[in-house]
Subunit: 366 residues, 2 copies
DNA sequence: GTGAAAGCGCTAACAT
DNA sequence: ATGTTAGCGCTTTCAC
């Protein structure tokens, strides 16, 4: 076993930067092994070994004894490349994002890369800011997770920042909503919502309402519009007052459901089917309905979007649109971490799968 | 507005490292502003400005026009310090960890630090490995989240690795289970489980079982023992067969509950109260009970530990031991990111709060 | 107030 | 196969 011994303080390098006692450099190792730094570098960190077994052994020995650890910053400087990859999510505590993140992180770990994570609290322009940070870190790639607001100014700024990042040699992928010029993993929000609507109509549902999420967020808009369009093509209209906007959160769902209940007292007897554009919101809505004394699905039906694992055990089980969240993270990471073949941005569409469960079962007496 | 213009390719530095077109260095800025790099550095990144306003303005102008971004690696090399902080969790997709992580991340963001996150998949020795990685990155600090296995060899290795990291100038804090020599944020697992047991007994419960989590994980052991000891002091014994071990996951809870049901058919009529040492496990148990056709709380009662936000809407609402997860992350980050006063490791105990909810309500006919 | 210059620790020509 | 050496981009002493 290696015994870690700090280098003697007397041997401190003569520099304005005070070298911490205990930080061993390649130089130290080379000296101890009586070889050049180049050789030491080749043995310890170099890819192609063209070093004799004996010397190699000597170097390893010295490194172990001294407790050497490479300085990644020095390495990054010398090679012009780092082993960092960035992830930006809206809120890491939201299971939707943490599931996607887990896919990305696993993917990066497999490639021995270090992951930097930012949680923007949905702060607009957060991704641009982080992109700049990661550019300063010379990150290999960054993954932008989540749909953004439709503010044109912000979008322009982001597109530009992405361009600058790429210009500097980095790669960018977005998961959820494409950014011009970058790779993307894009769930079929419109198609999923469309299919959900048709499935519900096929089950016999005729009365609908939507907890539509933030008014200016792309994904929310797509899901609402897909749902609405499908209903329309089935001859069912969705009144404006039947789509309530709110935050993409549990509390957002709770509040929006409250608004809906207040607006439409007749929700109950019609056994209206409420589509929450997010599972997390659906759970909030469920809580609100419980407070109102409404039974799901007997009084009101409820569907979500995402099929989030952590929420798979709520009761009643939620009808929803399944998204392979972890896989999406995986794919996104692969897009920017694997050797690049072409040059044009690649878009990977993700299709959805309808999961009909108890939360939308119609009363047989319906 | 600044227009980002790439430096002319002809001006490429003569080095073996091919400078990407589009990466602007401090040198470039200095030249454009007709000042020395020293001055440019002082203006752009230096702390004490001792630069005349005119020159300062010139430098900013040049930096903006060129689209300059500092190279953090170079900065780290020159100063011997980086702006990185590491976090290690078992599984970022687990809401327990993602909630704690969100606290840490917010805390770090407030201090303009970059967060690197690793998810070890509960792989033993994962924290040691990551600590070494972060040492190579010259990270300021790392936060170790989650309780570990009781493997002595692994613990020794971790303790040593923590020492080496600190020796190199880094700071370490653990959240969940202390590491010798490092700061720690430690929830009162024993006290929480004890209080829970007493509260349940006070409610009238007499028959208990425990979904005890992984046999060799510290937190699981503490919760089991705290619960068991409290029961004992109330004159209630917990048979060995009434504590079932399993993974700390939803599926672990599901399986363990299945085992318990198979072992003890009489669970139902006694209205046994089952304590799952984790909320996530409790939810798995809930699912298993539903499959078995058992009603909670009418047939069997159920309690968890953690009071995880994402699970606050399961039905019936879970009796549990509340832990201020996000705050714990906050505190942990503060411990290692704020200016240090003393030198001895600081332990911050976190007390728990019992939340009695519907899942443990006794039949009135009890 | 400003600039010249010496590194930080490492890698990669290039020479031997 | 091994060593010598010139940087990577930045900060900071030290002299002016």
């Amino acid at each position: 076993m290696a015994s870690i011994s700090a280098p003697s303080p007397s041997g401190a390098p003569s520099s304005h930067v005070v070298a911490l006692p205990g930080v061993v450099t390649l130089q130290d190792v080379a000296e101890r092994a009586r070889v050049s730094v180049a050789t030491a570098s080749r043995v310890l960190n170099g890819s192609h070994r063209t070093v004799s077994p004996e010397r190699s052994e000597l170097v390893w020995q010295a490194a172990l004894e001294l407790g050497y650890t490479v300085n990644r910053h020095a390495q990054a400087m010398a090679t012009g490349q780092s082993n960092l990859v960035g992830i930006v999510v809206k809120d890491i505590a939201d299971p939707y994002f943490s599931t996607i993140a887990s896919g990305i992180i696993a993917s990066a770990a497999k490639r021995k890369l270090l992951v930097c994570l930012a949680s923007t609290s949905s702060e607009p322009g957060g991704e641009s800011e982080y992109l700049a940070l990661m550019r300063a870190q010379r990150a290999r790639a960054v993954v932008l997770v989540g749909s953004r607001s439709d503010d044109e100014e912000l979008e322009r700024a982001l597109t530009r920042e992405v361009g600058v990042f790429q210009q500097a040699g980095g790669r960018v992928v977005s998961i959820g909503q494409p950014v011009p010029g970058a790779d993307a993993v894009v769930p079929d929000n419109v198609g999923g919502a469309d299919a959900l609507a048709r499935a519900l109509v096929a089950q016999g549902h005729r009365h609908f309402a939507v907890l539509a999420g933030p008014e200016h967020t792309q994904a929310a808009k797509e899901r609402l519009h897909g749902f609405q369009a499908a209903l329309r093509s089935c001859g069912i209209a969705l009144a404006t007052q039947d789509a309530v906007h709110s935050a993409f959160t549990r509390d957002g769902g709770y509040q929006a459901m409250g608004t809906l209940l207040a607006r439409r007292k007749r929700l109950f007897k019609q056994q209206t089917c409420v589509f929450a554009v997010t599972d997390v919101m659906a759970v909030g809505a469920l809580a609100r309905l419980r407070v109102a004394g409404a039974s799901v699905p007997d009084d009101i039906c409820l569907a979500g979007f995402g099929d989030i694992d952590t929420l798979r055990d709520v009761y009643p089980p939620l009808t929803t649109v399944r998204l392979p969240l972890r896989t999406m993270g995986d794919i996104g990471a692969g897009l920017v971490l694997d050797e690049r073949v072409g040059t044009a941005p690649r878009i990977v569409p993700i299709s959805c799968e309808i999961q009909l469960r108890m939360s939308t079962e119609l009363r047989t007496a319906g």
